[in-house]
Each structure stands twice: as structure tokens, then as C-alpha cells.
Symmetry: C2
């Protein structure tokens, strides 16, 4: 009979050690189950704590950009390049999904089928479920799982550009922003929003008309904003044909070398840790608020009063907050 | 000499009443200053509380969709249509902006120049500043300011699709999702993500090749997901030429009538109030956490310990949380 530890019931404890051992041995089924566990609301702190001593070895990269930029195909090409130099690769794809029904799209997985049969590559789509703040936390946890499982490179792929993606990208050491020529009249707005997230810029579908202009505009914007230090390189790729993949890998490597040489990696790590702690604290706060829901002093009662316009939202929030978090 | 009220210093109190009176009189300068005030971290609870009794009259509509869908042009056309029937219009445009430097893009304003000189229309771009959760809160506050100022219709325009936009769209009674033909290979993913947000779908740039297919695919997906009740209509527009604007207005009106007739508006209002209270609580929690930053028990110390891998993030977050929010 197993002895229960850390206050957990013995069955839970036994399942936890099976899961931990499975992840550390890089068994695909256990790795997948571990990520499912961290996707749940509140995650799986016990698992993450037991995996923690084995994390911190993977190189964590991010790839983001507007819809239609061809990020999945590029991710596939990058994974193939890393595999050729003997590195194992974990991919966490953060797909948009309905905030109400949950569930992720399988499109990315299907398009990545070429590398899907390689045991040195593990691909996982995250279900977003619409949990406030939960996605960034779950993504970081999934990265930890893949890191502990011994994948040399962990690639986070996010679709779209927004606060969400910025939060998620905070979990990566180096971020590649992928653009394509001729994305329409909101492109300027997109570029401005992601200009400072990108350590490397990729103009994908570079065989399309307008690629020169996109690259030139981007270079101009980078020149204008240049804060000294690292100047993000602009790489051109045609991902379906594999063109430019080598240059993209080299640019990502160069940024990694820059981080280490400049000592900026330590500052970035602190920023990542801070964002992660804040996400964990936020999730705990939401759970505490939810626990206060019933009763005349609860959240439901406050919602009702404000809905009936008996109370303004600011006053109601202040009163409720004072009850949950005393001075 | 003015007598100070509500515990505020007399100068602040006097500025507050000037601002409140200016907003209620719909002076553009004061309306703009009020929105600037709510954009700041923590917002301006005193102002919102004093405006609250005059809110609740505007019809609040949302317009969202992927970049390049032509939302701004469509918003301009809708505003012109509402103006023609004698309604005043406030527009809150939520632009993507750098999470690090803040600042919003002026592109939308420039493109909307046709209606920019009309005193019955007020257009405001929100600066996002990257404040965690702050954007949805600030957008709701800006809607309240415009509502209190007596604008008949308040239109929230958000660029992109993601958790962020979903949160922001929660402040609207009726949401129009704008799509365009041929947005690339991630379009399926986008559609799935926004399918349940849209009360009305607009296929803009409907003179483009592929419009029929986009509309047909959309109709099929709506049929598959149909939960009964309201079936979101699909409207085709060519916004630069004003084609389809009347149909879009009619579809938005029809949804408003459906909400009122079915009583669903009350349930939706409760959902909006709940999301708003949660955003306010979250912002307060972040401020409380930030106050705990210095000292060996503070957030900075926790960040340092986790960065040095002396502590795992889950344990550090649990300890810190217990100090800020006692059981």
C-alpha cells in the first residue's frame, strides 16, 4: 500500500506520481493527460510542483501574428529544422475557440500532419474555455510539462494579436512575429500593436505581391522605434516550400545568443515570472470571489442590485471587495 | 468657497462637478476629458458614480471582426444612417496598441472624417496601455460617459478577435460580427471563435469574389450551432459605397426588438453587470497586490525567489495569496 503524501488522498497521490513519472519518461499519453490536467480551472498545482525541479532546460519560443499569416505551416518547417539538428520539439498551439462552448479547432493539427508521426515532436492544441486569465496560466503550465518531459525546444503558437496573445507570448524567451503582404487596411494598426513584441519578424508568403513593401514598411517602423540594443531582423519565408526556414532558425538562434550575452535573459525571466505569478494570483482571486457568490452579501446579490439600478457598479464592487480582501 | 463633499478635497470635488456637468451638457471637451479620466489605471469611480443616475438610456451596440474587415467604414455608414433618423451617436473605437508604450492609432479617426465634423457624433479611440483587465473596464466606463452625455446610440468597435474582444463586447446589448470574403486559411478558426458572439453577421466587401461562399459557409455553421430562439441574420454590405447599410441597421433593430420581446435583455444585462463587477474587482485586486510589492514578504521578493528557482511558482503564489486574502 502506498503512503499518502502532501495531504492528498492516497489514490490521488498515486495518480499524481504515475502522471509525474509518465511525463518525465516522455510517454505521449501521460504528457497529453498532464496538459489536460493543467487546462482545467485552477490547473494542477501538485503536478506542476512535482515537475518543477525538472523544468528550466527547454528553450521556449513564441510565434504569433494575424490570422492567415501561415504560422502553423511555418511552425511545422521550424520543427523539421530543429529535428534535423537532433532536437526534440514540443508545440503548444493556442487556438481561438468559442468563449461559451469551449473546444479547439483541429485545423492546425491536420495541417501539421507531416511531423505528427515523429515521436520527437509533440503537438498540442489548447482549449481556451474562455476562463478569465486562465489561458495564459494554462499555457505556461503546458510549457512546463513539455519542458519537464525533456523537449529541447518548446514552441508556443498563438493565433491573432491582442492582450491575450501578449500575455501568452510572455511565457516565451524569444518571439517571432509573422506577417504577410497585403493583409488589408488594418495592417498598420496590427503592426503597431506587435512591433514591440517581436524579437524576430517573418514576412511569410514572401512570393506574394507586396512583400517588398511589407518588409520595407516594417524596417522603417523598426528604425523609428529602435531603442538601441537588439534590432529585430526581418526574415522572408515561403513556408509551404520551406524557403527561408534556415534564415528564420538562424535569426531565432541569434536572438537567444544576444539575450545570454547581454544578460537581458535574466531580466526577461523575471518579467515572465512576475506575469506568471500575477496570473496565478488572479485565478485564485476569481475562485475566492466565486465562493462568495451565495447569500445577501454575495456576488449574485450585488449583480442583482446593480442590474436593477439600485446600486452603481463602482460602489457595489468597492463594498464586495472590502468583504473579500480586508485592509 | 465650495464645501467639499464625499471626502474629496475641495479642488478635486470642484473639478469633478465641472466634469460631471460638462458631460451631462454634452460638451465635447468635457466628454473627452471624462473618457481620458476613466482610461487611467483604476478609472475614476467618483465621476462614474455621479454620472450613474443619468445612464441606462443609450442603446449600446458592438461591432467586431478580424483585421481588414472594414469595420471602421461600416461604423461610419451606420452612424450616418442613425443620424438620418435623428439619433446622436457615440463611437468607442478600441484599437490595438503597444502593450509597452501605450498610445492608439489615429487611422480610424482619419478614415471616419466624413462624420467627424458632425456635433451629433462623438468618436473616441481608447488607448489600451496593456493594463491587465483594464481595457474592458475602461471601455464600459467610456460607454457610461457617452450614455450619460445623452448619445442615443453608443457603438463599440473592436479590432481583432480574442478573449479581449469578447470581454469588451460583453458591454454591448447587440453585437455585429463583420467578415470579408477570402481572409485566408485561418478564417475557419476565426469564425468558430466568434460564431456565438454575433447577433448579426455582416459579410462586408460583398462585391469581392468569394462573398457567396463566405455567406454560405457562415449560414451552414449557424445552422449547425442553432440553439433555437434568435437566428443571427447574415447581411451583405459594401461599406465604402454604403450598400447594405439599411439592411444592417434593420438587422440590429430586429435583434433589439427580439431581446425586449423575449425578455432575454434582462438576462443579458445581468451577464454584463457580472462581467463588469468582476473586471472592477480584478482591477482592485491588482492594485492591492502592487501595494504589497516591497519587503521580504512582497511580490518582488517572490518574483526573485522563483526566478532563481529557489521556489516553484505555485507555492510562491499560494503563500503570497494567503497573506493578501486571508481565509
Amino acid at each position: 500500500m502506498r503512503v499518502a503524501g502532501a495531504g492528498l488522498p492516497s489514490t490521488l497521490n498515486s495518480r499524481l506520481s504515475t502522471l509525474t513519472e509518465g511525463v518525465l519518461a516522455r510517454h505521449p499519453r501521460e504528457v497529453g493527460r498532464a496538459i489536460t490536467a493543467v487546462e482545467n480551472e485552477g490547473g494542477c498545482p501538485e503536478l506542476l510542483r512535482s515537475l518543477f525541479p525538472r523544468t528550466g532546460r527547454a528553450r521556449v519560443l513564441g510565434i504569433t501574428g494575424p490570422p492567415g499569416a501561415g504560422k502553423s505551416t511555418l511552425a511545422q518547417r521550424l520543427a523539421q529544422a530543429w529535428r534535423r539538428r537532433g532536437q526534440t520539439v514540443g508545440i503548444v498551439a493556442v487556438d481561438p475557440s468559442s468563449p461559451f462552448t469551449g473546444g479547439a479547432i483541429l485545423g492546425d493539427r491536420i495541417r501539421m500532419s507531416e511531423i505528427y508521426t515523429d515521436p520527437g515532436v509533440f503537438i498540442r492544441s489548447m482549449a481556451t474555455r474562455g476562463a478569465l486569465g486562465g489561458l495564459a496560466r494554462a499555457t505556461s503550465d503546458a510549457v512546463d510539462v513539455l519542458d519537464a518531459a525533456g523537449f529541447d525546444v518548446v514552441l508556443i503558437e498563438t493565433v491573432g494579436v491582442g492582450q491575450d496573445e501578449v500575455d501568452i507570448v510572455k511565457a516565451a524567451e524569444t518571439v517571432a512575429v509573422v506577417l504577410v503582404p497585403g493583409l488589408g487596411d488594418d495592417i498598420q494598426a496590427i503592426k503597431a500593436g506587435i512591433l514591440e513584441i517581436g524579437d524576430v519578424f517573418v514576412v511569410n508568403k514572401a512570393d506574394r505581391e507586396g512583400a517588398d513593401r511589407t518588409a520595407a514598411e516594417l524596417a522603417m517602423m523598426l528604425d523609428l522605434s529602435a531603442p538601441g540594443g537588439w534590432r529585430p531582423p526581418i526574415v522572408r519565408t515561403v513556408a509551404p516550400r520551406g524557403e527561408g526556414t534556415g534564415e528564420a532558425v538562424a535569426a531565432l538562434d541569434a536572438h537567444g545568443a544576444h539575450l545570454a550575452a547581454s544578460g537581458e535573459d535574466l531580466e526577461r525571466r523575471r518579467r515572465r515570472v512576475r506575469a506568471r505569478l500575477l496570473a496565478l494570483l488572479e485565478e485564485r482571486f476569481h475562485r475566492r470571489v466565486a465562493q462568495q457568490a451565495p447569500g445577501p452579501e454575495g456576488l449574485d446579490a450585488a449583480v442583482r442590485r446593480v442590474s436593477l439600478r439600485e446600486r452603481d457598479p463602482y460602489g457595489a464592487a468597492a463594498d464586495f471587495f472590502a468583504r473579500v480582501v480586508p485592509e
